[in-house]
Structure formats: C-alpha cells, structure tokens
Symmetry: C2
Subunit: 879 residues, 2 copies
C-alpha cells in the first residue's frame, strides 16, 4: 500500500500545489525554493483536513504520526527541540485554504511554550516580560481556539489586574506582572477545563492542528465561503512554522507591503511597517505605522533586501504581490506573499503596464480582470471623503449600481414634473410597475421599500442604468402627508434632498459630491485589446435614443433588444394606446393605433440613426395589455373623463384583463394573434422609418423580433401578417427595404422545436429570464419569498436569474442552437435578458456558438471583456 | 407522361379506396363488385377535387375530358344517352368524402333533363306530373347549388301558386300545374342569372361537379370538419349515378335499414321505408314510414332479397351496416352502405356478439370501440322521455358528464348544510376555487357561470366525477336576494330544484327522472378482454374513500394520485391548518399540524383499506397556502374571532401570501423547503396509518410522492427530511414498514434532469397539466381568453390541455423516460393529470413505456380500453 503523503516541508512544495497546500503554504514553499528568507516549517495538506472530516472529525493516526515525523525533521533542520528548555522550538500554527479567507479561520502562535521552557527561556534570554507575555497569549489562544472557551474570562482578569494597579495599557505590565498573569491564566484554564494547561508541546501541536481543521466549519468561515462562492469540501491546509519575533527588540519589526499601489496601480513599493511589533499591530490602528520610505532611511540594507525580494517575487509571479515580513534582530523574514487585491481602476492600469513592461501577454492581461469588477468603473460614484460627512439614513439591496441625488418624490408623476422644472429627483416607491417606467427613466435615482434584486424596480433600473437601491426597509412612506420616516427616526419631506449610492446600497441625507465614469486611457486601451480577442459581439438592450447613445459610448456593436412597450407610456401615446385597448372593435383599435404610429416611427428613426450602420433589433409589443391601464381610482376617473366613458367601462375592462398568472397569459405574440393590428402598426412604423432614413442615405436593415413564440403555427401566423403589412407599405411607396424577422426563444417549447422554427427565422434571441422562469416554474415576481430557504439550505448555490442554470435551461439552449443551426446555417443567435450581461453566464454561452449577447448599456464593457475571456479560454480563433 | 386517372367506374373501385373515392364511392364500387344491384355510375376522385383547388377553383381540362369519356362509357353501358329525348340518361350527382359528413355538402338529382327531354319523356312515359316535378326540382337545385342563388324566390312562387288555388300540399299539384311551375322556375332562373337554364346535359353535369367540389368549403362543411377533426385538405369525391326512382309508381319505394339495432345492438334488420317516396321523405317526418317487418309482408320477395344482401354486406364488412335502398317498379336497388353509427351501449353489445358469432376477433372488437364513447355509460343519465317534459333553463359547456339534481345554492357552505339536512343540492357559482372543493364534493351537481372546459370547476369536477356544466352564461346570480335569473326570463329562488345534465350541458327546471350506470353483462366482459390485452395499468386519482370505492368499481388497479390538500378543507382540519399558516414560529406550526395528523392518518387508513392489496400513491401538499385562507371579509372576521387575533393579522397574512403568478410560486415541495414540518406531519401520518393497518394484517407499501420537483438538490432535501421523520416513527414504534418515495415530473426542468433524479426515486409520475402549462407558457387559468383566437385561426388544432402536445411536451416526456430508465431500470413511470384519462394522449404515451396512467375514477374504463388498443396497435406483448 502506498502511504499517503499528508505533509510537505516548505522545501518540498511549490506555488502550483495550492489545492493541496493552500495558498499560504504553496507560496511559503515557493519562496523557500526561490531562496528567500522564510522561517523553516511544513504544511499539513488539505487532504489531511478532508480525512479528518471523513473520519468523523478525528485525526487519523497516519496523519498524526506524519506530524510527529515532520516535527522531528524540523527539529533536526534548525537545531532546536520541542520542550527543550535550553533550546526550545516554538512554532506558529496557521490555517491556509486554497482561496484566501482572511481572518476567517484560526491561528495559534508561540506553540511549544510550557512552564519549564518559559522559566529557563526567561532566564537565558534575559527577557522575562517577552517570554511570559508570549506564554500567557498561548494559554488564552489555546483555551479559545483548541478548547473552545470564550476569551472573556481571560480578558476580564487582565482588565481587572490593570485597573487595580491603575495601568493604562499592556505596556505598563512589567516582568513580574506577566508572570502573575500567566499563573492566573493557567488557573482560569484549569477552572474552565478541569485540567492543567498541557505541558507536552507535541500534544499542543496536534490539538492545535485539529482546532484549525475544525475552524474550517466555524460559522463565519461557512458564511464567507457562501458569499464568496468557495466550495465547502475544499478543506484547509495547516502551516506549522518556526516563530520569528518582530517584537523581540528595537531592531525588530513587522510590516506589509505591495509591489504596486493597490488603489491607483502605480508601480513601486507601497506599504507600512512598525518596529517592535507583531503582525496584527500594523493593521490594528493602536500605533500609527510608518511608510516604506521611512524604512529606506531607518534600515537601508533591510529595505534594499526587501525591495529586491519584492521585485523578484513580482517578476516570478508575474503579478502584483502583497507581502508580510518580519524583522527579527535586524534580520529580514518573509512570512507570506500572495497576489495583491486591488481596485478595478488599479487592476486595469497594472495589467496594461505589465503588458507594456513585457511581464505578461495581452491575453494574460485580459484574463486577469474579473469582468464584474468593471462595473464600479462604469457608473458615477460619490466622493468618498464627502460621503463620510453625510448621515446614512437607509440601507438596502445594491439593486443597480451608480450614484444619483435629488429631491425625493413618491410618485412617478411628481418626479417627472420635478425633472421638467429642472430639479434633480429621487423617486421613492413601495414597489414599481410598468407604469412607473417613464418616471424611473428620468429620475436621478430610485429607491424601493419592497422587492429584491430581481424585482421589477431592480430589473428595469439595471436595464435603464438607473441608480437603484431596492428593498430599503428602513423607510416608511407617508404619502398622504408627504413624509418619509426612517428607522433611525429621521423624518424627511417631499422635496428634501438625498443621495443614493446604488453601488453600495446606501442612502445619505443631503447632497454628496459626485464623480463621473470614464472609459479613457488605459481602460479604453484594455477594452480594445479585449474586443480583438472576442469571437462574438456585444449588443445593448436600449429603448431610447439616450440609452442607445450610452450603449455606443460603452462600445455596443448594435441593439439586440428594443422593448417597444416602454415607448407607449409617454403622455400622448398612452392615451391612444388606452383608447385602443378599450375599443370594442377592430376598426376603432386601428384608428387609435394610427395615431401612435408616427411616434413609434420617430422613435425607430432616432434609434436607427444613433446606431447606424450597426444593427437594431426591435421586439414587437410584449407585456399584457392590463399593464397599460391605470390602477388607481383617481386615474380611472381622469381617463374616463378624457374618453367620455363611464369609469365603470374602464374598471370592467381592467377586470376583464386581469389574469391569475399574467406571466403565462395573454402577452407576446399572443397579443398579435388576438389583435393583429398592433403588430401591423409596429411593422409599418419600422418600415416607414427605414424608408424615411433612406432619403438621408441611411440604409438600415431592421430586425423585427417576435416575442414568446411557443409553436411554429403561431409564429408563422404572426410572421405572415407582418410580412403582408410590410409588402403593402413597400408597394404603396414603391420602395425596397431589406429586413429580417426572427423570434425570441423564451418558452421551453420554442427551444424544443427550434429546429423547425429556424426554417422561417433569420435570427433567434434567447430570452433567458422567461426561459428560466418557465423551465423551473419559478415566478421571478414571487420567488424571493421561497428561494431564501433554498439559498439558506444550500439547495440553490446560484440564483438562476443571475447566473444561467447550465444543466436545465442550458440544456434547452444548447439543443435549440444545435437544432436551429442544423436547419439554418445562417441563423444568427443571441442572448438578451439579464444573463446577457452576466460574466458567468456568458462564459457558459459563448462556446455554444452564439453570435452576440445583448445587455443593458452599462454592462456592455463587462460583456465585452467576458466574451474575450471566454474566447481565449476556449482557444477559439477570432472571427 | 402518365395520364392521371381521375375517374373510377363502380366496377373499377373497391372499399379500400376510400381516400380516393370517398366513403360512398368506395362502398358503391364494393357493392357493385359483390354483384349487388347498384345503379350504374362512376366516381370522380378526391384527387380531382384537390386539382380543382390547386388550379384556383377551376376544373382542369384533363378532368373535364375524363368526365366526358366516363359519360360516354356510361351511355354505352346502359344504352341511354344524355339529351336523347327518346331514351335519356338521367343522373344524380352526390358528394362523398373520405369521412362521412352527412348533409354537409351538396347533391343534385335528375341531371340530364331539359325542355326537349322533358316534353318527349312526358309523352312517352304517360307520367307528365312526375317528369315536370323532376324538372322543376332540377332547376331549383341547380340555381341554388351551382349558381349559388337563394331558394327563397322559387319556394315563395310555389307557395303563392298553391295559395291562389287553395292547394293544401304538393300532392294537389296536377300535370298542368307542374308544367306551369316549371315554366315559372325557368323564368325565375333567367331573372336571377340573366341567362336561360342550360339545356346541354354535359354542361349541367360539369357545372354540378364543380359545385360539389365548391361545397367542400361551404361554411357548414368547414365547421363540421373542425369539430370532427377532419383535415381540410382531404377534399371530396363526386359520385355520378344513374337515377332510380322510388316515387315512380305504387310499386316503388325507398328506405334505410341497419343490420342490427343501433340503440340496443340487438341483431336483426332494423329500419324504415316508404312506398311512393324518395330518400328524404323517409326521414322528413311528413309521412310516417313503416318498419321493415311490414315490408316483409307487403313485398316478401323484395324483403327477402334485401335481407340476404344486408347479411352478405355485414359478413363482408364484418360490422353492422347502415344501408339505403330504393325499389323502382318492384326492383331493388342499393344506393349506399356504410358502417352504421350506434350508441355506446349498442357498440359494446355488437362487438361482443360479433366475437361470439365468430365474425371478428377480440382484438378487432376492442379496437372498434372509441374509448371516449364509454363515458356516456359511466354516469347517471336523465330519462329521455321525462327530460322532454321539463323546461330547459340554461345551457353551458359539457364540463363533466353525468346527471344530478337538487335544490340550488350559491355557496359551498349552504350546499353542505343542505346535504347535511338530507337534501339534494346543486351548487351554482360564478366560478370556483379550492375553498369550494368540499362543497363540490358533496353536491349533486355543479354549475358555474364563468370559466371553460379547463377552469378550476371543470377540472375538479371531472376529477371528482361530479356532474358539472361550466360557463353557463344564461344564468345570473343575485346572491343578496337569493335569486337566480335566467336569460329566458325565469327567476328561481334558493332551494328551487333543478336537474343538471353534464353530459349534454343542459340545466332543466324541476326534477327529471334519473337512470343509473352499470358495468355488467357484455360491458364487463368487454372490459375484461381489454385488460387482458393491455401492457400498462390504470390507477385512479382519488382523494377519499368514496372516490376510491368508485375507482374500484370501475376497475382501477390502484391509486396514482391522492391530493392530500383536499383533506384539509373539512371543518375541523381547516381551522388547525389556518392556525398553522398564521403561526409565526415553527413550534406553533408543529402543534397545529399535530392536531391534523390523526385526521390525515385516518384518511390514509381508509384509502389503504379500500384499495388493498393494490398500491396507493400519496402526493404531499401541493397548492399554495393562500388557497387555505378565507377570502371574504366576513369569513376573515369569524376566523379572527376563533383564533383570538385581529382581522388585520389575517388580512396581512393573506396579503403577504398573495402572489403575482401563483402557478409558479410557493407551492409543491417548495412549501416543504420553507416549512419542513408540513411534509414531516404527512409522512408521519402515512407511516402511522401503515403501522396501524398491520395489526389487521393489512400490509401496505405506501408510495409517497413529492410534487413540483425542479432540481435534484431540492428533491433530496425534501426526501431526506421525509426519510428522517419516517425513521423516527419506525424506531419509536419498533416497526418495519416498506415504502417508496418518488416525484412528480411536472416542471420542464425536472424532465430535463430526470436521469439524475431517477437515482433517488422509486417512481415518476408525469404531471402533464403543469408540464404543459410551463412548456408552452400557457396559464390554464387564463388561456381561455387568448386561445380562442388560436383555435379560430387554426393555429392550435388540439387543446394541449386535453390532448397531449406530442412534439414539445411529448419530447420532454420521452426524454425523461429514456434517461430515467437508463439510470434506474426499476423505475416505475406513470402519468397523472387530465391526460391520463384522455385516449389520444394515452395512445401517444403507452408506447413510451409507461407503467400506468392515473385518471379520475369515472375515466378509468376509458383509460383501460385505450391502453388495450394502444398495446394491440403497437403489437406489444402483454406483460
């Protein structure tokens, strides 16, 4: 039987063994082998951790015996011995998982101390205070981490001890005090555990290792993994390392440093250190650390050595490093190195610089940036300093990033009027519906009290690129009196100014200074590199000239989704559209639609122009008609007055259009089967717009998209009526216009029969939102209430409305693409809907052969980068 | 080039050429070749009809010239000539499609008459009246059928003519009158058309043929095809046949007869005839026809000849024949034979008798009965005679067959109280919801004013086997005053008795006598034969002991679906269930559920007992919780009083449970993820029931079915909690009970991942209702409003909620079965939901390898027969 190897010395490991040794262990080994000054030690593998769990949380004998062997070897290597009072080996025990989980798991220092070692060491080192300070810390950490007791009793004792003596800080404790405290701590330990503090260093070590393994499953580690998407079954490694002390003398110290500035990306050592200190002291804020420039002056040779090592590490790892070091009696030790975290802005500058320095290739640069991280660069932000000066009055979900401020209003109408007066406006609603869209579009920020990340408000706001905080339960609206009450007890009035930070889900009272997004300089250069690698295009979902202009600015190569329904909500149009809905006969409906036609045509002309010569895909009317009718009593009366009918007529119509499951009701092309005149009008408006632009030498090829197809017959019925109307228009005007007709694939059935539909479609656009809803049977409007338990119980790892469900929905998409292309080789295939802007989803979809993704303008750069990464990863050639 | 053959003489055709010659033509040819006395003639094929339509409704020259050839041959064959006044050929032109469409298309008789032929024939035949009567009929038929003019002007002229002369009937018209009328008809014809009545017989014939072709697309034929599922592209054939006259003399006559009694199935000639009459006269009711027994006395040799021919035909066709015959001057002619229509009762008797007579095999007998036709035999019916004596006060959709009568009530509560008082009760509601189910269950019949064939009322009623007429828009409820107003102006009061005929969609005023269904005698024997052929079982959907008993009676081999939610609506339980819903914490919920447990356990024990030793499949709670809370103000107050909470608490809870798309909301196993205690209680009740029955030596193996699975993780989460609870119960009682756990496959995703789920499931049950809803994105609650246009425009041929969608939903099912069985060879697979009782759907599903279908008790025999037929058709061996 081959013996499993559960332990690697730092000399045996290397940076590529992260899975086995954890990030910290792998890098300690790598540094050791690069010849850097790393305290000697070894790593107990993640496999040992798994065995521990497989073995009902018991350390297998094999692992335990390998630990003893490793300790013997370490003793040999450095000439010190566990428990040898004259020459004791003291070690630290630190967790180190595959992915960095800072502060989530446990660490024990000074392991190896016991009564005898402490006594002899105190004598021989002439540093009684240091030795007993270390020993009392060990006892407390051990009690806490290994035995699971609260630290309170220890800390309380120490506090009382200091109070009795009127000491102000730990620094006032002298040699004798430290001995006293240590004695007391041992007593407390015995009271808690019923046993003496263990004097056998090997026992201490084995128990400490087990404690670190256990800490993999402590609450905060589990939670951290959950939100950071780290699998529960990875386990942690344990690093056992000889102690070095930055607090040993005035020639000792400790620090952390980066090879580049993590905020700006600028090249050069960036960090802080403290003399006479241990690791935590640098970041604890108790003393103010010094910058690395000071080290250069104070200890020039140590600085120089560190600088050289740092540069060596960056060149070796080909990325910015984040390092911890300790100086013990003037000697430099490297305690950790890892890829440094950085802001998005810095990340791009570093990547671009490193390409130019020849350190990495463009492809490596592209792969290095997390697409999602671009999002922070694409929205306005509040000036950090100024934000700190304002009161936070509410927090909610980060529904749609960006920053916006203005006077608060509780209805879309009021917000629109305020905007018309030239005010900035923040719309605060209990929840939103299609009626609010115009207000959402013009307002500077949106806050809802109910609803989650996928509520109407959140989805529409992300689509519009509007700043939105959703589900802010800190607010309560008193619309009658025009007041907003906050949980913190503030009361604001309509018109008061607030600042809404959608990126962080915060609402401030008052006016916070703002900063603009830019895609210039290194960012622009980086995106050009990305596009050059990509094998699919990024279109935008855009309903207005404004959206289209932003999409252009962010590099969209076309519009993949124009939602024509949003065009019906503007003042003059909604009247005629409501008249259309309320008409009992086709002729009256046609007349009402004729009045809307010029508006639609004008909208289309504007969109075509902005995007020219790129493509514009227009989805014909999709939502159920009841969304266009008023909901409240007063509005009904107004409408009734305008239309010269009784309010009851309108109420009856609203009632008759009510549906039990509107998501699966009369919408999409089902509207056209029942009211062909609606799509006829839209087709006419599209073609007339194209004819009109021809006069300006703008020759567009409109794409007409039919929503919600579920059968070939209904698709053909609707396509035929569109084509017939188009031919009428072309014949009447004696013009020729090329156009394309395609369909959304958003019902499971349309995906199942895609091979047939492809015969008659120029393009498919997957509407993955609806497809996900119907494939799971999850109503997005309702799922929040029940999916929480799914996330809490780990039943759903990812929200399928955010990251596409690869097994179910993905199967349908894969099948539809394959069958569609089998029938129609020229078929253009895209994805619109939320997943079109999600990096994880795009990474899945790109290799299936899609031609484009379409997402909200503000996510266009994210999609561009993701597609580039997907193409590089799949080794696909650019086309 | 091969010349297309568009015409077959009766000598050339045979009964197997129905596609080409139509039913009538094929059978005329068959009889001719059997040597039966059929007037000579030929058939113009359905292909000619198709060419006519392909050729923009013009008769291709090739067809026209073949008609001329055929006429020449016919002239040759019988020695008469078109237009030869001394010896004229007169023919009838009759339509005849592949499927019988009685009365739907046009017929022209006496073709070949013109002025000269009539004059000479009148002279030579000495029968002026007969000749001119024939001629004036030809003119009117030709004007109407060929030229498309209304018959009104002709009929009005004849009426006026008779009135002037004070004639009482056509029989009063003498020779001269007939000549006058003919002259007048020719004048009217000329006024209408601007031309003289065509004198050229060949032109008459060609125009008549075209007219018959055209009549294929007249409104009533199109409608008939639609409702009878006959494809529009079949076209009709045209039969041209020498005229024979049953009205020529006193030795002439005409009749129709069956070889067996079409009402009872009894063997023997069954029919009627009239002397001195033409075909229509027998059925017109103007004169009372005589029975065949009379013919036996009056014309024994003709009778004997006919009897022999009839028996020959039945033996030849191996089925009961429906024949038309004419006697011309004592000579018998056969004008038509076809398979006779019969009642369901007769159909079964005939099939069983014919097997016993050795005429057909059991398999043929089984294939001969349309499963759907059994439905009329499985429900109570009203006595036909008595029904005629009562006023019809409303009509609606035949939502659920059967007959029921009682006092009318407008709320479930009132109906239940009436039943408790011992009254019969008919529940009349605007529409129904889950709350009404108890009332629907106990009432004798249900009528709704809104809703269609797939409304809640209709679906539940069919499930319960309750008589239901849905969408009866003739009614208006005035609940406040306890009045029911009908469109016909009647007003009924609460407590008035009505009789509801669900089979025919009729509501009668008053008490109509009823008759009971039986499965005895030949019916029972027939069903036993069917079961012997079948390779799958029929289970029933049954929620109560009563349902289960009926299911047993109708031959169910188990229960495939117990909907446990219906059990929660009974008085004592609903209180605790509502208490459970309103509880803020798990412990209170558990306590409330503990109170329901004994009821559920009792229910299960009863079901297990009734079905023992057959299987019972219990579906855990499925519908959303809001269905269990009261809807109206008053009920809320009552509940609030009982629970000692404010009405607002209940209203808030109702509000918080409201969903935008409840169909895709918190229901099914999603309830168990959020409230594990519900399924735990149900699992406990099931296992305790099994333990209890063990004492009586009833050893059941309960099947526990988890609804609405869409992912493996949620299924396992729920399965684990059930298994854990069961183990607790078994350990506590120190018992062993075998059980099975499986899942509904009703979301598209569950079908897509069925291969994985099958690892952990003992059985699958396809919930094809929901699967259809989600695959199409059609909400069954709402689809009526928009699907009408789909049916009207031929976009949907079948309602996918009635007949399973083979391409989309069927694909998912096929895939799920294949993948499921690949993983788990022992996997039992069934179908519950409406399609489980639909013959067309079962025929599709059976060859996919399902083990059972589960349907409402009243549909069990239909499913049994369908499975037998499917097995026979697929040639599968019985297992």
């Amino acid at each position: 039987m081959i013996k499993n190897k559960y332990i690697y010395t730092f000399r045996e490991g290397n940076k590529d063994l992260k899975e086995l040794l954890g990030g910290k262990g792998a890098n300690l080994a790598e540094m050791t082998n690069l010849g850097l000054p790393v305290p000697e030690g070894f790593t107990i593998t993640t496999e040992a951790c798994k065995e521990y769990y497989n073995n009902h949380e018991t350390l297998p004998l094999e692992v335990e015996s390998q630990i003893y062997d490793a300790i013997s070897n370490l003793e040999e290597q450095i000439g010190k011995r566990f428990g040898d009072a004259r020459n004791p080996l003291l070690v630290s025990v630190r967790s180190g998982a595959r992915a960095s989980m800072p502060g989530m798991m446990d660490t024990i220092l000074n392991l190896g101390l016991n009564d005898e070692v402490a006594r002899v060491l105190a004598n021989t080192s002439n540093n009684v205070r240091f030795v007993y300070d270390s020993y009392r810390r060990l006892i407390m950490m051990y009690a806490n981490v290994v035995m699971g007791y609260d630290k309170d009793e220890f800390e309380k004792y120490l506090d009382d001890y200091k109070k009795e003596r009127k000491y102000e800080s730990d620094l006032d404790l002298d040699d004798e005090d430290m001995v006293n405290v240590t004695t007391a701590f041992k007593r407390i330990y015995k009271n808690l555990s019923g046993k003496d503090f263990p004097q056998e260093p090997k026992r201490q070590l084995v128990e400490a290792v087990k404690a670190v393994f256990r800490s993999w499953n402590n609450k905060r580690a589990v939670y951290y993994r959950k939100i950071n998407d780290i699998p529960d079954d990875w386990g942690t490694a344990v690093n056992v390392e000889r102690m070095v002390y930055g607090n040993l003398s005035t020639k000792s110290g400790t620090g952390v440093a980066f090879t580049r500035n993590p905020s700006t990306g600028e090249k050069g050592l960036f960090g802080e250190y403290l003399m006479e200190a241990q690791g935590e002291d640098v970041v604890s804020g108790a003393r103010t650390p010094k910058t690395m420039d000071v080290l250069k002056e104070e200890m020039p040779s140590v600085y120089k050595e560190f600088y050289n090592l740092a540069m060596k590490l960056e060149n070796h790892y080909k990325d910015m490093q984040d390092m911890e070091f300790t100086i013990e009696e003037g000697k430099l030790f490297m305690l950790q190195t890892r890829i440094g975290k950085r802001t998005s802005k810095a990340a791009i500058k570093i990547a671009v610089d490193q390409v130019k320095e020849g350190l990495i290739t463009k492809e490596e640069a592209i792969l290095r940036i997390k697409p999602e991280d671009l999002s922070g660069l694409l929205h306005k932000t509040f000036n950090e300093e100024d934000a700190k000066k304002h009161t936070i009055i509410g927090r909610g979900l980060k529904a749609s990033p960006g920053a916006g401020k203005g006077s608060i209003y509780f209805s879309a109408k009021d917000a629109i009027e305020a905007k018309n007066r030239g005010e900035n406006a923040v719309l605060i609603r209990l929840e939103t519906s299609a009626e609010d869209v115009e207000g959402m579009h013009v307002c500077d920020a949106l806050v809802t009290i109910r609803g989650g990340m996928t509520s109407h408000a959140a989805v529409v706001a992300r689509g519009l690129g509007a700043t939105c905080v959703a589900g802010c339960q800190d607010f309560q609206i008193d619309a009658l009196n025009g007041k907003l009450h906050t949980k913190m007890g503030e009361t604001l009035s309509v018109g008061d100014v607030v600042s809404v930070d959608g990126t962080n889900g915060i609402i401030y009272k008052g006016d916070v200074a703002m900063e603009d997004p830019e895609i210039t300089g290194e960012f622009a250069e980086f995106m050009r590199w990305a596009d050059a690698e990509s094998n699919a295009k990024v279109y935008a979902n855009a309903d207005t000239e404004k959206d289209a202009t932003i999409a252009r600015k962010f590099g969209a190569k076309g519009i993949g989704l124009v939602r024509t329904e949003h065009m019906f909500f503007e003042k003059e149009r909604i009247f005629f559209f409501r008249l259309m809905i309320l008409s009992g006969d086709k002729e009256t409906r046609k007349k009402a639609l004729e009045r809307i036609l010029p508006y639609q045509q004008g909208d289309f002309e504007k969109l075509f122009k902005v995007m020219y010569p790129d493509t514009v895909t227009i989805r014909l009317l999709d939502p159920p008609l009841h969304e266009f009718l008023p909901k409240k009593g007063e509005e009904t009366n107004n409408l009734a007055n305008i239309l010269h009918v009784s309010a009851k007529v309108i109420e009856d119509k609203v009632d008759s259009l009510k549906e039990i499951n509107p998501m699966m009701g009369q919408r999409g092309l089902r509207l056209a089967v029942n009211y062909p005149e609606i799509y006829e009008m839209q087709a006419e408006a599209i073609i007339k717009a194209a004819i009109n632009l021809k006069k300006e030498n703008i020759n567009v090829v409109p794409k007409i998209m039919i929503p919600l197809t579920s059968s070939m017959y209904e698709y053909m019925f609707v396509k035929d009526l569109i084509v017939k109307k188009i031919n009428e228009v072309l014949t009447a005007s004696n013009e020729k216009i090329k156009y394309q007709i395609g369909t959304m694939i958003e019902t499971p059935r349309s995906a199942l029969i895609a091979g047939v539909i492809a015969n008659e479609a120029d393009f498919f656009s997957f509407g993955t939102n609806d497809l996900t809803q119907m494939t799971y049977g999850f109503s997005r409007d309702d799922s929040e209430a029940f999916l929480k338990a799914y996330f809490d119980n780990n039943i759903l790892k990812d929200d399928p409305f955010i990251h596409i469900d690869e097994y179910g929905v993905g199967y349908l998409i894969r099948m539809a693409i394959a069958n569609g292309r089998k029938t129609n080789k020229e078929l253009e295939i895209g994805v619109c809907g939320e997943h079109g802007g999600d990096a994880k989803s795009i990474t899945f979809l790109n290799p299936l052969g899609i031609n484009y993704v379409s997402c909200s303008p503000y996510r266009v750069p994210i999609a561009r980068l993701t597609l580039a990464q997907a193409a590089i990863k799949s080794g696909a050639k650019k086309n």
